[in-house]
Every structure is written in C-alpha cells, then in structure tokens.
C-alpha cells in the first residue's frame, strides 16, 4: 500500500492562520520518509492529516492499493508522549488496540505474545507504565503499534521525550526492526541526526505556512549508516543550512504573536 498526499493545504479558523500549503508527497512500501522543519511549521499537523485525525482545508490523502489483508489498523501512530493508559498494564495497553476487533481472546493473546517478543518486552507483560522508564514506555507503544499490523506507521517525534542515551538505543532498535520487517513510516522529527540515520528520504518543510522546500534522498542502506560517517555528516550539514534561517525566523515569529 502506498500513501499519496495531493495538494494538502491547511489553515485554522477559516482562512486565518495558514499552517500548510500545497504539500505533495508520496511514500512507497518499505520506505521511511522523514519530515523535518522548524517548530510550528505544521509537521505534526500534517501527520495528523495523513492518519485521518484531522481534515485538511484543501487537498486529499490518497491510499493507493489495499492494505495487507491481516492489517487491523492500516495507519497507526506512535506518539511523542507514548500515550499509554496508566491504569492498564503493558499487556492491557496492547490489548486496547485489539479489543474492538472481532478476534478471539486466544488470537489476541498470541498477538500480544508475538509483539512483546519482537520488542523484547516479554518479561514486562504485567507491569504498569509508571514502573517503566521512558525508553521502555516508548517500546511498549511500538509493540502496540506492531500488534495491529500497520501498513504505514506515523511516528510523531517518537524519540524526542527521551534522554540522549535512551534515544540512541531506541534508534538502533528501530533500525534493526526496519531491517527485519521493512515497515513503512512517516517519521516526524526536529532532530537532524535522527532524520539522516532513519530516513530513506527526508522532506524539509519551510516555516509557516509549511511548504516542502526540498526532498533529500539518502542511498546508504539503514544498517550501514554509522554515526560518524562523513556522508551522513554532509547530509546533516546540508539540512542544517536549509533550516537555520527558517528556524531563526520561526523563532522570532513566535515571539511576535
């Protein structure tokens, strides 16, 4: 299944503040597309529009082809703040995503076993979120997303709420997961290092109203991108040059609102 964005524009308060303007973008199966841009450029809004949580003022998000038949929730989010229910255990949190589907209790348990194993969480099955560290919480959220067999994952700054060491570990986990399962994802971030490590393509958005300034392609396979490779450094430098002035201007803009 592919996702194609056609001329997405969005403004709040009926033609007031324009957040996004004429975004055209598509994603292939098995590809990670990173969306980066200065704060307030509407990248999270765009992600909400892609997943159908918000309606764009103009344009459409098209689904090309059908999701795999076993997919319970083709477009699945991973949120920055994990969004785990504090009153449910790890198991219960994953179960929430499955309970409204007509699969039996046995099947549900099998799925939970499977995703917990895939995210190395098996021993934390009965634990409440408050007992887990931030990195583990996000891992639970990833397990929950995997449980519904998504066709496209929509990741909204999934590592931004974590400290830098945990971020590094989880990023390695994500890379490993991609190499094993070739998942498809839109990955919103403001961290350039994350973008060059994880993205097959990186779409750079300008400040409000968000437009696509440039799309960068990185050929190196994910598993061969090391932190200190000069190629990634060059890409990161280029991205920073694109963003620097935008970020500065966006900063001033917010101060003037």
């Amino acid at each position: 299944m592919e996702i194609r964005l056609k001329g997405i524009s969005h403004s709040y308060r009926d033609g007031g503040l324009t957040v996004l303007s004429d975004i055209n973008l598509s994603i292939q199966e098995g590809e990670i597309v990173c969306l980066i841009g200065p704060s307030g450029c509407g990248k999270s809004t765009l992600l909400r529009i892609i997943g159908g949580l918000e309606l764009p003022s103009a344009g459409a998000v098209l689904q090309v082809g059908d999701p795999p038949p076993k997919s319970l929730n083709p477009l699945t989010y991973i949120f920055q703040d994990f969004a785990l229910l504090p009153w449910r255990t790890v198991e219960g949190n994953i179960s929430l995503a499955l309970e409204d589907h007509s699969i039996g209790r046995k099947m549900r348990n099998e799925i939970i076993d499977d995703v917990l194993a895939r995210t190395s969480l098996t021993e934390f099955r009965k634990v409440f979120p408050r007992q887990l560290s931030g990195g583990m919480k996000q891992r639970v959220a990833i397990a929950r997303a995997l449980s519904v067999n998504p066709a496209v994952m929509l990741m909204d700054e999934p590592l931004s709420a974590l400290d830098s060491q945990t971020r590094e570990i989880l990023m390695a986990d994500l890379i490993e997961l991609w190499c094993r399962e070739n998942f498809t994802a839109f990955y919103v971030t403001h961290n350039l290092a994350e973008a060059v490590r994880l993205g097959h393509r990186i779409a750079v958005l300008s400040r409000r109203p968000g437009k696509i300034r440039e799309i960068i392609e990185i050929e190196t396979p994910l598993d061969r991108r090391s932190v200190d490779s000069p190629e990634l450094g060059r890409h990161q430098q280029h991205l920073w040059e694109l963003l620097r002035d935008e970020a500065r201007a966006a900063d001033l803009e917010l101060a003037n609102v």
């Binding site: 997943g51 949580l53 319970l72 929730n73 477009l75 699945t76 989010y77 949120f79 703040d81 969004a83 229910l85 504090p86 009153w87 449910r88 929430l96 995503a97 309970e99 409204d100 409440f128 408050r130 929950r144 519904v148």
Partner: protein, 272 residues
C-alpha cells in the same frame, strides 16, 4: 601569583552551610494515639476534680457509660440502623445519579449547555433549606430524609465527575481514535478510568455532606436515628448521651473514610 603567597594566604576552608531541610513532614505514627489519650485523660481529670462542670461537659467515662447503656438496651442498633439505612440509600442513589449526570455533561455538548447552569444554580443552596419542601412532597417519613441526602450528594458528585472527564488526557483519547477504538470503548476504557481520581475526591466530600444532612434531617421529625437521639438528649440536658451520640457520628465518619480509602487504594492502584 607565586607558590609562596598561596601557602601564606591560603584561604580558610569551611563547609558550605546546609540550607535545605524543613518543610517536609515525616510520619510519626505514635503521636496520634498519644494525643488522643492525653486529651481524653485531661478531660476526665478535669471532670473528676470538679474543674469542669459535669452539667456542661460530662466526663468521658460518663459518655462511655451512656454508650454502653445504649448498647445494652439494644437502642444503638435501632438508631444506628435507621441512620445507616438513610445514609446508604440516599448517598448511593445520589452518587450513581450524580456520576451519570456528570458523565453526560462531560460527554455531550447539549447536555452541558442545558444542565450546567442548572447545576450551578442549585449547587450552592443549602439542601437542608429544601427539607420542608421535601416533607411536603415525600412525607415526613423516610422519603424526605433520603431525598435530602440524595440531593446533597448529587451535585458535588456531578461537579467532580464532569471536572474529571474534562481533565482526562486528550492525547489518550486521540490515541484511541487513531487505533479505531469505538466511542463506547473510549468512554468505558479511557474516560471513566481517567475521571476516577476526581470522582473519588468527590465521594470523600459527598459522604461528609451526606452525614451532615442525615443528622440535620433526623433532627426534624424522626423517631429513630443518631440525629434524633442527639436532639432528644439535648432537650433532656442529658449531656452524657449527647456526647455519646456525637462520638458515634465521629466513628461513623472515620469508618466510612477508611472504607473509601481502601476502595481507592484498590481501584486507583495504578497511581503513584
């Protein structure tokens, strides 16, 4: 600066003064029983020595005597039973209706627009002022007393519940929507558990209100009930019985608070 001068003018070393601390209570379990014993002991001593007029304030031992008498004659269960029945029926009904109404206000814009002003208008009325009206409507018997308690607990519960619903983390709701979770599942699995802490603090307040209203209602036309017992003791200037009745109310309040605490630590065990 040369080495020599450093040695000569070596700055004095002293530890940095500790400025933290304070403002932090620590649990001292033994203090509370001691305070109890000391207060009651002083009171008893004062009464025995004649420092406190027994007519104005009877000795704790006399109040205890009155309580034992109450148990022996079997009147305790008559009074306490009548009170508890009113309290349980009125408070349970008020709580269930209140939670239902609170959820409706929290979930549906039309209900909120329609009912919220009504709730705000009726909430501040001391419900005991409505008792005469309830007596006309529901009779002098149990009906009017239960209605007073029900009314008194309904409004704080409504306000606590919809406040709790309003404060449920929106990101959790958006998460559930993104997984295609149905509306009724979101209400049952996210909104109600999320509002639970607020509902619980509402229950603590409403049970206190319910006890106050129960006593007040029983003081106006009731044969049995702790309130009626206290009123009768007062009109007979039987201060020992009066104190016994008040102690009974205190014990009732403490036991209920303890029960709610137990329920809370079970239902809200996911917290802290």
């Amino acid at each position: 600066m040369s080495d020599a001068t450093v040695v000569l003018n070596a700055p004095a070393e002293k530890p940095v003064r500790f400025r933290g601390g304070g403002f932090r209570t620590k649990p001292l379990g033994i203090i509370s029983p001691i305070v109890f014993v000391v207060v009651i002991g002083l009171w008893e001593l004062g009464s025995q020595s004649g420092l406190i007029d027994k007519l104005i304030l009877p000795a704790p031992s006399e109040a205890l005597q009155a309580l034992l008498e109450l148990i022996e004659t079997g009147n305790l269960w008559k009074h306490l039973g009548a009170s508890l029945q009113r309290l349980i029926v009125g408070w349970t009904a008020g709580t269930i209706l209140g939670i239902g109404m609170g959820l409706a206000i929290g979930l549906f814009s039309y209900v909120r627009a329609g009912a919220q002003p009504l709730v705000s208008a009726i909430f501040p009325i001391p419900k005991i002022a409505l008792l005469p009206l309830f007596i006309i409507w529901f009779g002098i018997g149990e009906g009017s007393k239960i209605a007073t308690i029900l009314f008194g607990t309904f409004f704080p519960t409504v306000i606590a519940t919809y406040g709790g619903v309003d404060n449920v983390d929106r990101t959790l709701i958006r998460m559930a929507q993104s997984f295609g979770v149905s509306w009724s599942s979101i209400v049952r699995k996210i909104i109600i558990p999320g509002a639970m802490p607020a509902i619980h603090s509402g229950l603590r307040i409403s049970i206190a209100i319910a006890i106050v209203l129960m006593v007040a209602a029983e003081m106006i036309g009731a044969e049995f009930g702790v309130g009626a017992y206290i009123l009768l003791a007062g009109s007979l200037v039987a201060t020992d019985q009066l104190i016994a009745g008040v102690a009974l109310l205190s014990a009732l309040g403490l036991i209920i608070a303890w029960l709610i605490g137990k329920a809370e630590s079970y239902l809200l065990r996911w917290r802290t």
